[in-house]
Amino acid sequence: MTVSVQAEDFDVGAEIAALSAGRNEVGAVATFLGLVRDVSGGSSVGAMTLEHYPGMTEASLEEIVVQARARWSLYAVRVIHRFGRLEPGDRIVFVGVAGAHRGETFAACEFIMDYLKTRAPFWKLEETPEGARWVDARDSDDSAAARWEQGGRQA
């Protein structure tokens, strides 16, 4: 199982161990873990709710993984993204990539996160002292994803 979209929390240590379990050709595992911050855009955040598009969200993540595997030689990839109500410090997203060498695993892990941020249908509703508000998409996320189109980061 490569992609999971779920309400439940996950075990980072177990996920990382699974990426190389029984694969002694793995020399490198790059991972990213995203957490709920207690501050956003200058406001304190008490909690957030992640909405998604069941079906399309999973398909989008699978497609991003297919693209990463086409670019780099990878032994294993794991993507987990939670939905529902989360509080500061809670885990939101995990991306783990196992390969032979570090360059390709770093690149693939960052590629997957950049594409996930701009192409996977998730939306964040933050609870702040000023009320609930939908998070705006950031231009910096678009430019992060665009880097990979220009062939500038093949690693």
Binding site: E51, M56, A120, P121, V135, A137
Partner: protein
Amino acid sequence: MTVKILYFASLKEVLGCTEESFVLPSGVSTVGELRSFLADRGEKWKALGEGRNVRAARNQRMAAPADPVLPGDEIAFFPPVTGG
């Protein structure tokens, strides 16, 4: 001759609508034409109007305005994504 239309996140809240079954009128054969038609339904539907930052999906894949809309399709409209 109907399609299912879904709305997400802030768009869902503004429109007060999560999902609808929609009979395609004549002259609506693309995602862009569908969006324009819906934007003309009334005040709150201007949220779908030209110049608003709205994304569309057809059958759960990102869609461009020129993409066709066919009976039985699932069309979704939503703001730019903010997960991760």
